[in-house]
Point group: C3
Chain length 159, copies 3
């Protein structure tokens, strides 16, 4: 049984993460990762078949920082912007050594289409490794596995 | 850090609110507001551009009571009814003086179309001021900010 | 006021249930029910009109076990498979005698269509009777009431 305070800190990280993306604050998104943080966004199809091809693969903190630059500086103005709204539900949480937890969550991301309607952008699960050691909890690794095979639009922002 | 009991009372208010709307119990909806309660439902477009035009603007408890009368007596039988299903996720909670909290939440409202399918009606954020002073928590102010620009049907019920 | 530990065990059951279905582990689904467990999946239309016609009606643990056999052995390979993603939000929880609780929740199930998009499969409420007596909490009765009248595809898996 994990103590309620640790769970609260873990949930709080997930909500900071959701908020960072929903407010398109990419710097705050990067801050959710620890120094050795990794981010992967991949289709469940590929996970199931053990294929490594990912939609986004930031396997170091430096690449996470690069992604912030791409989205906010390099790509800025070249893509059709969109507003997301994340919902996250923790399904499982298992200790993995001192102050590290393997956390699985369901997620659903709604977005507003250019026609002004809200639809589901992607749904799936997060498989995360979360450090709760010093200060705020952070991701050591975050893997967003998409049920959705064909997203209704291309993804610019992380999920 | 806000104590777990206060957070539980705040969350409980949000669920009472959701349940009131999902059961189309407008009187119970009005009861979620304190004596000086205000309710605003507005598009994010307008908030971002600082335009005051709102979809619903009940800037006093009397107007909230009026809305109950409109929906349940004046408009009754004149609109195509619909069933909603609200989901709310608290994202932030900050104290604003004694027994008052500024609470931000993500929401998603599913509804059943006349063709019998379930779709997203609206998604967005609640920016609320919640009083936890005496008895049950209540809204001093509730602002529903819709990401959705063009709702798939006209809104009769508050969000 | 129900103690936080009991609520945590109740919520944990709902998440085990969601996970069992989302991973298509029907045996784990059946394990969520107690010895005298019952499962009903019914349209709200019928509940409102007091019509007993249900989409699924497993009124004993034996029928629940039968459903596992149907889905995993009898029907296997004869239906177009689909991936669900459940979201559950507890709305109400009331004691019903020693170690038994009547629990109401909102649910939304997203699924991935054959075209690879994620949409809402069904939304509605769970009306459950949950036993928290020995070991893990289990369902004495689970009733899934669907707002959705016309599901976008036929339901193979329980909701």
């Amino acid at each position: 049984m994990i103590d309620p305070d640790t769970l609260a800190r873990i949930d709080s990280l997930q909500l900071r993460y959701a908020r960072a993306l929903d407010t398109r604050n990419l710097a705050a998104w990067a801050e959710c990762f620890g120094e050795a943080g990794r981010y992967i966004c991949i289709a469940r199809e590929n996970v199931d078949q053990d294929l490594p091809l990912a939609i986004m693969m930031d396997d170091s903190r430096a690449r996470i920082t690069d992604r912030v630059t791409y989205v906010t500086e390099v790509w800025a103005g070249t893509f059709e912007d969109y507003q997301t709204r994340h919902f996250v539900q923790r399904i499982d949480c298992v200790p993995r050594g001192t102050d590290v937890f393997a956390v699985e969550s369901n997620f659903l991301v709604a977005y507003t289409t250019t026609r002004g309607r809200s639809e589901i952008l992607v749904a799936g699960t997060y498989e995360d490794e979360i450090e709760t050691g010093r200060g705020e909890a952070r991701f050591r690794a975050k893997k967003a596995i998409l049920d959705t095979v064909t997203t209704p639009r291309y993804l610019v922002y992380p999920v």
